[in-house]
Every structure is written in structure tokens, then in C-alpha cells.
């Protein structure tokens, strides 16, 4: 039974791979896209519009409380102040909304429609993030799910779950780790991970 299932999945996997290969080749052959178009787009997302943009935003919020407030009040305008590399127009950068962790409050971002993730700031979502089990369980029992992924929050910490949608694409400003008072902006950026900005982890501890 299970081997049949795996066989089916292998076949489906191969069929999807073949379909993608054929589609790209046909679109290039017809001149709809160039031979390097897909690589150029992937390069942009993997090297320019990635989570380091989010890390810059968070690090700035840590060192500049006024900026942090503006970021919470009007996220796109505050982000525009930083003059980050321009994201793909219309591709996920609009409707950005930041929520801040603080004493006794932890924020978790989920996306039940699974296509509303703020790529230009967070980079591409981790694979498991789009799994329906994660999405539905995180909405229902966030404390338990967070504990399972290694984030044990005190019982009295309030957990707020935010569902990203076409109208609001949320990301978390994690708390600044203690012992980082002398850190440069670059050192602070290194502490900010994609997971911390989704809310499934805290910003890395100072080492």
C-alpha cells in the first residue's frame, strides 16, 4: 500500500518536473521569455530581494525606536525610508505590515492561503511553511506548535497569530537579544533570521 503510494508520488514528481522543463523550453523557443529570464528572476530573489532586507529593517528598528514606531504605524512608508533594493513590482511587497514582539507578547505569522508571503523582505518561505498541517495547526494551537519547533514560550506570554492575506502581509519585529548593546548594524542583522521574522524562533542570542 505504502509502496504504491510512493510509486504514485515518484511518477507525479517526474511528471511535474517534465512539465516544467517542457513549458520553459517551449516558452523560450517561442520567444515569450529569453533563455536566461528564469535565471535572472531567481537570481534576483535569491540574492537581492531576500531576508537580508528584512534583517536590515529589523536591525534599524532595534537601534531607532522612532523608526520602529513608524514601521508599525505605516510599514510600507517606513520601509521606503531605507531605500532597499527595489522588489519586483506588485510581487508581494505591497500591504506589508509589521508587528513587534515585546515583554509578554509573541507574534506568529501564518498564511492560510499560502501565497501571500512578503518575499521581498523575508525571502522565499521555508518549505514547511506552506504545509496545510502547519497552517491549520498553528492557527489552532500555536503554543504547542511553537514548542514542537523548539520555541518554548512562558505560559503567561500572549501569542498573537496573524494570517497573511492579500490585504496584509505580516512580518514580526523580534525582540533585540540582550547583550547586543555594542553591536554594529551588520552584527545585529546577522541575528535576524527568516524564522524570527515569521515568529517561529527568536532572534539569535548574542555570542
Amino acid at each position: 500500500m505504502s509502496s504504491d503510494l510512493f510509486k504514485y508520488n515518484d511518477e507525479r514528481e517526474a511528471a511535474s518536473a517534465a512539465k516544467v522543463r517542457a513549458l520553459e523550453a517551449l516558452l523560450i523557443e517561442k520567444g515569450v521569455i529569453g533563455s536566461d529570464s528564469v535565471d535572472a528572476v531567481l537570481d534576483h530573489f535569491e540574492k537581492i530581494a531576500g531576508p537580508f532586507n528584512g534583517a536590515r529593517i529589523v536591525a534599524r528598528a532595534w537601534v531607532d525606536p522612532a523608526f520602529k514606531q513608524r514601521l508599525i504605524d505605516d510599514t510600507p512608508t517606513a520601509i521606503a525610508e531605507l531605500q532597499l533594493p527595489v522588489g519586483m513590482e506588485g510581487a508581494e511587497g505591497e500591504h506589508m505590515a509589521a508587528v513587534a514582539n515585546g515583554p509578554g507578547v509573541h507574534n506568529l505569522i501564518i498564511c492560510t492561503l499560502c501565497s501571500c508571503y512578503p518575499w521581498p523582505v523575508l525571502g522565499l518561505p521555508p518549505y514547511w511553511y506552506k504545509d496545510p498541517t502547519f497552517r491549520s495547526r498553528a492557527a489552532r494551537e500555536p503554543r504547542k506548535v511553537l514548542a514542537e519547533v523548539g520555541l518554548d514560550l512562558p505560559a503567561d506570554t500572549e501569542i498573537k497569530v496573524w494570517d497573511s492575506s492579500g490585504h496584509s502581509r505580516w512580518f514580526v519585529i523580534p525582540e533585540r537579544p540582550s547583550g547586543t548593546e555594542d553591536f554594529t548594524d551588520e552584527m545585529l542583522m546577522d541575528l535576524v533570521t527568516t524564522e524570527a521574522m515569521i515568529g517561529v524562533a527568536l532572534a539569535g542570542p548574542a555570542s
Binding site: 516544467v20 531576500g50 519586483m88 527568516t194
Partner: protein, 109 residues
Amino acid sequence: MKLHETCTTDQAAPQFDHEWQRRAFGLALALSEFRHYDWSEFQEGLIATIGEWEAMPESERGQWQYYDHWVTTLDKLVDRHELLTAPVLTDADDHAIPHDHAIPHDHDH
């Protein structure tokens, strides 16, 4: 228990289990970037495709594979916009012009 091995280890890299998923991702974005469709249309298509999968009985729908839905959506949009069937329009520099943005035909001649 971890939900997935990439959880809490991801620092920056995009997460794809297979190269075809990465190509499918890039292809869908490239077609949007070159204005063959609006990104919102792809998103709405993806939501609809996943909705159809979720509405199917569990016994019929097979294992969850996000990028299968991605590819199904891509296929639908390529068909809908006739990207492989319509003649390619080119501009003065020999670049393809998306049909939706092509200069309207002049009916006065």
C-alpha cells in the same frame, strides 16, 4: 519533533526540495515580470487550485505537494493567455510584446 528539517536551520536560502520546483517558481515570476499576466492573477489562480484540491475527498486527492498546485496554476495561465498558441508580437528591438499590452489594432485602414 520538527515539522520539517529546514525549520530553524534556514538562514537565507530559498527552500526547494527539487530543482523543478525552483524552475517552476522562477518561470511563474518571469512571466509576470514580463507582463504576460499580473501577479495577482497568479495568486488568485493558486488559491483557487489549492481550494479545489482541499475540496476533494482525501482518498482522491493524493499527498500534499505545494508545487504541483503551482505547476497546475502556471499551466492554466499559459493556456488562458495563449502564450504557446498565439502568434508572438515583437517590438522594434525584437522583444516579445505581451498580448494584453499590445498596441490595439487600428481599424481605420
